[in-house]
């Protein structure tokens, strides 16, 4: 293990968040078994008091979970200089076999934590805890992913050895290797461009349509999810090439570096915010007929849609900037 402050912070925060999730899941199990809002029993009143505390603490834990994804990438990028062969976060993540699984689990837990926070926010806006069982059931379902992330991340961070020779991103994101990444890189640029711009524009337009008419929420929500995956593939396939102005450099991590004005951070943050808010709009929709949420959910959906659409527009603008204004042309 490398005793770097960011590594220690990531490890401790992940352990703390998992500890909190284990306790909250146990509490959530009690909620699912014993919650009865009509009862005035001691147990019920105790659950009502504790849920306020538990959900508040869990909100902060999940809030940090959102930030920790970027702290993780930042740390991986900063540490690359101590590993022979590594040029950016891609090489650091390749130091042992747990790096990339940890990243994938972090992305999954980022999205799930965001959705839980949206559910919790809606529940807290109502006076009668209308989503309490649903949000704790959701927590129980997603808890294994957070716990897996902690285990994998711990194994990755503890397994970091400075004497390991790793691969650089040029080797990892090349067509010379076998696996999913070369497949993505080999995708025809024109096809990917068409897929990227059509889904991104469709998502933005469906967001505007929902804001204007109140209809098509599930289309907007689904497009947000689809856009996320296509955008990630597109960043590897062709967007990154325009930032690097190199026809063969497909690394999705070098853009986090100062040489590229840290453009990776706004690029990914806007994409993730757009995705969470977009999916969240659809997740909330089935609950808008609940009496205490009739005024809350449409307002919240509207705010989420505005946040998602603005983020998606900014994300699109960031990707378009090098495509339109750099001298590099991808034929």
């Amino acid at each position: 293990m490398i005793l770097n402050p960011a590594v220690i912070a990531l490890l401790l925060s992940s352990l703390l968040i998992s500890g909190m999730i284990i306790y909250s899941s146990y509490f959530g199990y009690q909620i699912l078994r014993r919650w009865d809002i009509k009862s005035g029993s001691e147990t019920q009143l105790s659950l009502e008091r504790r849920t306020y505390l538990v959900s508040t603490i869990l909100s902060y834990a999940f809030g940090f979970q959102l930030i920790s994804l970027f702290l993780f990438v930042f740390t991986a990028d900063k540490l690359h200089s101590i590993f022979v062969g590594a040029m950016c976060a891609a090489g650091t993540l390749n130091v042992n076999k747990f790096g990339y699984p940890a990243l994938i689990l972090k992305i999954a837990s980022f999205l799930l934590a965001g959705l839980w926070l949206i559910l919790n926010h809606a529940d807290n806006r109502a006076y009668d805890y209308p989503l309490i069982k649903k949000k704790y059931l959701f927590l129980l379902l997603i808890a294994p992913i957070f716990l897996s992330e902690t285990i994998i991340l711990t194994r990755y961070l503890i397994g970091l050895r400075a004497d390991v020779i790793t691969s650089c991103c040029g080797a990892l994101f090349s067509t010379q290797r076998k696996g999913l990444v070369p497949e993505i890189i080999s995708l025809p640029a024109l096809t990917m461009k068409l897929a990227f711009f059509s889904t991104t524009l469709a998502t933005i337009l469906s967001g505007f349509y929902f804001l204007k008419s109140g209809k098509g929420v599930y289309i907007f929500s689904s497009l947000s999810a689809i856009s996320f995956f296509i955008s990630i593939l597109s960043i590897i396939s062709f967007i990154s090439l325009y930032f690097y102005e190199l026809p063969t450099h497909h690394c999705p991590f070098c853009i986090f570096q100062g040489d590229y004005n840290y453009i990776g951070y706004p690029l990914y943050i806007t994409l993730f915010v757009a995705t969470i808010c977009g999916i969240g709009t659809g997740v909330l929709n089935p609950f808008k007929t609940i009496e205490s949420l009739t005024g809350v959910i449409p307002r919240l959906q509207r705010r989420l849609t505005i946040a998602s659409t603005i983020s998606m527009v900014v994300f699109l603008a960031i990707t378009l900037y090098p495509i339109l204004f750099s001298d590099f042309r991808l034929d």
Binding site: G40, S41, E42, L45, Y52, Y127, Y129
Partner: protein, 226 residues
């Protein structure tokens, strides 16, 4: 109607110092009437007042304010109710020393986000109503006991609550000031306020304006209507 059902309050539950302050109280408090909780020290009057006023939660039991159940409300909704539905007059007045009378009276309105000029206007009207005109800029500690009590009532009314809760309001007052206090309560009753007072002062519970006296002892209500 404020309906209380099977209200229990246990302090330090499960510890050697466990104390049961309320033992399953079920009462109805009529709106726009004056109700007095009467009983000796330790009978649970203040605890019950705190629970009715949403300042404390019961260990078990439920309270309905008109049609709405309020004990299950999340804290953010309780805060709203405390600010707008209840006005509190405390035994020790709990006025803030070092600031003026008008600042004390205006204080509960600040979190409501109302225009400061409107709050000031209302505060001045209340100060005038409670015969404190000319003292609005005086530091609160410069006022006499009776004046401080009137300032405390004015403060309780600044958000125009429908229910006034007073905990032993005459405990530190002489007979003249206690009668003056009950006179103010009469005026508030005429303005259709619901008044709930905890007291073991005969000047309070034997007053003509009182509609209902609930005798409390050892955490239970012994008798009902007069």
């Amino acid at each position: 109607m404020i309906r209380l059902r099977e209200i229990r309050k246990v302090f330090n539950s499960g510890r050697p110092s466990e104390f049961t302050a309320l033992r399953g109280i079920s009462i109805d408090v009529e709106l726009k009437k004056v109700t007095v909780l009467k009983g000796p020290s330790g009978s649970g009057k203040t605890t019950l007042l705190s629970i009715i006023g949403c300042m404390a939660r019961p260990t078990s039991g439920r309270i309905w304010f008109e049609e709405r159940e309020i004990t299950s409300l999340p804290e953010r909704f309780l805060t709203e109710i405390r600010r707008k539905t209840f006005g509190f007059v405390f035994q020790q007045f709990n006025l803030i020393k070092g600031i003026s009378v008008i600042e004390n009276v205006m204080l509960p309105s600040y979190p409501c986000g109302e225009d400061i000029r409107e709050i000031r206007k209302k505060a001045l009207e209340l100060i005038q109503f409670f015969n404190l005109s000319g003292k609005e800029s005086s530091k609160i500690e410069w006022l006499s006991g009776g004046e401080q009590q009137r300032a405390a009532i004015a403060r309780a009314l600044i958000n125009d609550p429908s229910i006034i809760i007073a905990d032993e309001p005459t405990a530190h007052l002489d007979t003249k000031l206690s009668l003056e206090f009950m006179g103010f309560m009469k005026m508030l009753k005429e303005r259709e306020k619901t008044i709930i007072i905890a007291s073991h002062d005969p000047i309070v519970y034997e007053s003509d304006i009182v509609d209902n006296v609930l005798n409390m002892r050892d955490g239970i209500v012994i008798t009902g209507d007069l």
